[in-house]
């Protein structure tokens, strides 16, 4: 059985000249690609995890689990609220007189009000932390309890749950694709999605966003893939697995965008129709036309005619300029898409509560399956390294980790929690992942050695990797990662970091107010972004010191034997 040649540094001959590192940089990088002859190849990336590079990965996974489950808690809150008719975000609550709606809701929309006020109860500034929202705390506790239940015995339990959590989203997506395609206006949304806008494609920012999206979408450098792969048998066709996972991921994104854009097309058509109706109502009220005398198709012709005959009366009317493209452009990503756009779209579908339950159920299971990966990436290294003594059962370790994460994540249930979550999302995850992935690729390709790695792959899969793989590992991937990283840094440094706050007292409400981050928040950001990576040089330094101490001890022992 072909093995990597074993080089155990601890048993080198005392009399021989010890091999030396060419420079300290090699040593530091070796801490990452820690594969120096420790036997079993399929556990090499795992061992790579237990030192330096691993601790970074673990810290990173920990940080990400913290804020990710807060998002899952929000999804759970919406899911629980979907079991009623009419849906709570369908209408504004009336004000005290009951003559109109609450002012904040009137100014924005019922859906935004439900999200920003009744769910988050958000403050207008990140400095103003506010109090803990008990309903969000309950949802957070429930989602951590569900995660604990599924991760309690490691892959024994997740392996069973994953059948549901991985397949259910595909089922729901298919249902939404079918429903979406039958909605009026869906085709407009799809045409909008698939027509390339040459002007936008020339903007390099778009390509950067695409590259970062595919990178984060595959959840690389989290350690989750490594943790899961470590449970495979050693003779596993990892090459085929990698290709399949990447393809399935991209196909799923495309499939999901079909569903999303057909629903968004429907919503845009709906909003456009309402915009026209409001204008028509103003015209009818002003000129005392009978009800329904102006249809949506006649509107433009009638408006032109009235503008010609009564220009002054028409000019004083609050007529909005309705354009379908404007509504189609109002797409959002992230929480905005799920909690505002989609919830509003769902309202207009017949049988709204059922669609809401399906949609948020799908998001919940998607979030859960990602949480499994993150938690495995944290817990499995801890178990392997032996952080707690052997007699402590696995369930207790998992429970402790989940409890600690839950307690820490309660800061996201504060009124300013959403602002902090955006920070975690933008800062903690992105830069660290890029750097870690870059170090991993460089570590494997250059420090561990391409030849050795190809030998390992040949042993595992039965064939050597083709030149395509070798080229991408050596050149393309590091270059791409470096480019993305540099571009990211440049964009970050170009303008001061700011966030958009929900401030009802803002003049341009409901547009969100742009505010700068205060100094202490920026310091926290810097810490978050550097913390996971500090382990790499930190542990390397610790190892260096222990080796130095050992060489000194050996030298002293030799001197003693010589002199005695």
């Amino acid at each position: 059985m072909a093995h990597a040649p074993e080089q155990d540094p601890a048993t080198s001959d005392l009399g021989e000249e010890r091999p030396k590192w060419d420079n300290k940089a090699q040593y530091f990088l070796s801490c990452i690609g820690f594969a120096v002859g420790l036997g079993n190849i399929w556990r090499f990336p795992y061992l790579c995890q237990t030192y330096g590079g691993g601790l970074s990965s673990v810290t990173l996974s920990l940080l990400i689990s913290l804020y990710y489950n807060a998002i899952v808690a929000w999804v759970l809150w919406y899911l629980l609220n979907s079991f009623q008719h009419p849906l709570p975000w369908s209408s504004c609550p009336p004000d005290l007189n009951r003559t109109g709606f609450v002012e904040e809701c009137q100014g924005s929309s019922a859906v935004s009000y439900f999200w920003y006020r009744q769910t988050l109860n958000i403050t207008a500034d990140i400095n103003d932390s506010g109090s803990i929202q008990w309903w969000l705390l309950l949802c957070l506790a429930a989602s951590w309890a569900v995660v604990y239940m599924c991760v309690i015995r490691g892959i024994e339990t997740t392996g069973k749950v994953i059948y549901f959590t991985a397949l259910f989203p595909y089922l729901v997506l298919t249902i939404f694709v079918i429903r979406g395609l039958t909605l009026p206006g869906a085709t407009k949304g799809l045409i909008y999605l698939f027509t390339p806008n040459m002007h936008i494609l020339q903007n390099p920012q778009v390509w950067l966003d695409a590259a970062t999206q595919i990178f984060f979408s595959l959840s690389l450098a989290f350690g989750g893939h490594i943790a899961f792969a470590s449970y495979n048998s050693p003779r596993n066709d990892c090459q085929k697995d990698a290709v399949v996972i990447a393809l399935v991921n991209s196909m799923t994104s495309l499939y999901a965008s079909i569903a999303v854009f057909s629903v968004l097309g429907f919503k845009a058509t709906n909003d456009y129709g309402h915009c026209l109706d409001r204008n028509i109502l103003s015209l009818i009220n002003e000129f005392d036309f009978p009800e329904q005398s102006i249809s949506r198709d006649d509107y433009l012709a009638v408006l032109m005619h009235l503008n010609a005959t009564w220009p002054k009366r028409v000019a004083q009317l609050p007529l909005k300029f309705c354009r379908l493209e404007d509504f189609l452009d109002k797409s959002a990503s992230g929480p905005g898409l799920a909690f505002i756009l989609f919830t509003e779209a769902v309202l207009h579908m017949p049988g709204a509560p059922a669609w809401a339950v399906l949609f948020f159920g799908m998001l919940f299971t998607l979030g859960l399956s990602t949480m499994f990966g993150s938690m495995e990436a944290v817990i499995t290294p801890m178990l392997d390294v032996g952080v707690l003594p052997r007699w402590v059962p696995k369930e207790a370790l998992t429970g402790l980790v989940c409890l600690a994460c839950f307690l820490f994540a309660t800061c996201f249930t504060l009124q300013s929690g959403n602002y902090w979550l955006e920070i975690f999302d933008n800062v903690a995850a992105s830069l660290n992942l890029l750097i870690l992935a870059f170090l991993e690729v460089v570590g494997v390709a250059y420090v561990y050695g391409m030849k050795r790695f190809c030998d390992d792959i040949a042993w595992m899969t039965g064939r050597r990797p083709s030149p395509y793989w070798r080229l991408t590992w050596r050149v393309v991937s590091p270059l791409l990662l470096l480019t993305i990283f540099v571009a990211y840094i440049t964009l970050l440094s170009q303008k001061p970091l700011s966030y958009r706050a929900w401030n009802p007292k803002y003049e341009l409400f409901p547009t969100r107010q742009e505010k700068l981050y205060p100094g202490w928040v920026l310091a926290a950001c810097a810490l978050l972004s550097l913390l996971p990576l500090l382990w790499v040089p930190g542990v390397a330094l610790a190892q260096l010191l222990t080796r130095q101490r050992r060489t000194w001890r050996d030298r002293d022992a030799r001197l003693d034997t010589d002199t005695s």
Partner: protein
């Protein structure tokens, strides 16, 4: 109808009206009429088979129906159900884990007894060794390298 006078009729179904008081032979003040309409909007809507969107009295904002407010919000009920199920599942998993571990702890002690017996038989059998049946954890063919042997300790 006799006490309601119409004027300023337009093409759209909209009109101005005043209400007269037959006994005092004067029109009722607008404020009184407005209050009366506000109180009885529902009945007026019903009489015309219209609703607040299709029948509007200018300067009389219609009071909105209060939202249906159940004593216990629905989400709390569903939350309670899910949470209880999860807690029960966690307890069951932990208990089964403890039971598994206790069973594993009992087995080595039984195996030790069997091995002692084997060794006794060894001496009884005059040095002919017992076939060492590996009773620990099932039947493992030592001809194949096991995982643990391949792993060099950290």
């Amino acid at each position: 109808i006799s006490h309601v006078l119409l004027c300023n009729v337009t093409q759209r179904v909209s009109f101005w009206f005043v209400v007269t008081d037959p006994s005092k032979n004067h029109t009722l003040p607008a404020v009184e009429v407005q209050t009366a309409i506000r109180m009885n909007k529902n009945r007026i809507n019903g009489a015309f088979f219209l609703n607040d969107q299709t029948l509007e009295f200018l300067k009389i904002p219609s009071t909105l129906a209060p939202p249906m407010d159940p004593s216990v919000p629905i989400w709390i009920i569903i939350f309670g159900v899910i949470f209880c199920i999860v807690i029960v599942a966690i307890t069951l998993l932990i208990l089964s884990g403890i039971r598994q571990r206790r069973r594993k702890n009992k087995e080595p002690s039984e195996v030790d007894d069997a091995e002692d017996k084997c060794e006794n038989m060894n001496t009884i059998e005059n040095g002919i060794p017992c076939d060492p049946l590996d009773m620990k954890g099932g039947h493992m063919n030592d001809a194949f390298m096991t995982e643990d042997e391949r792993l060099t300790p950290l």
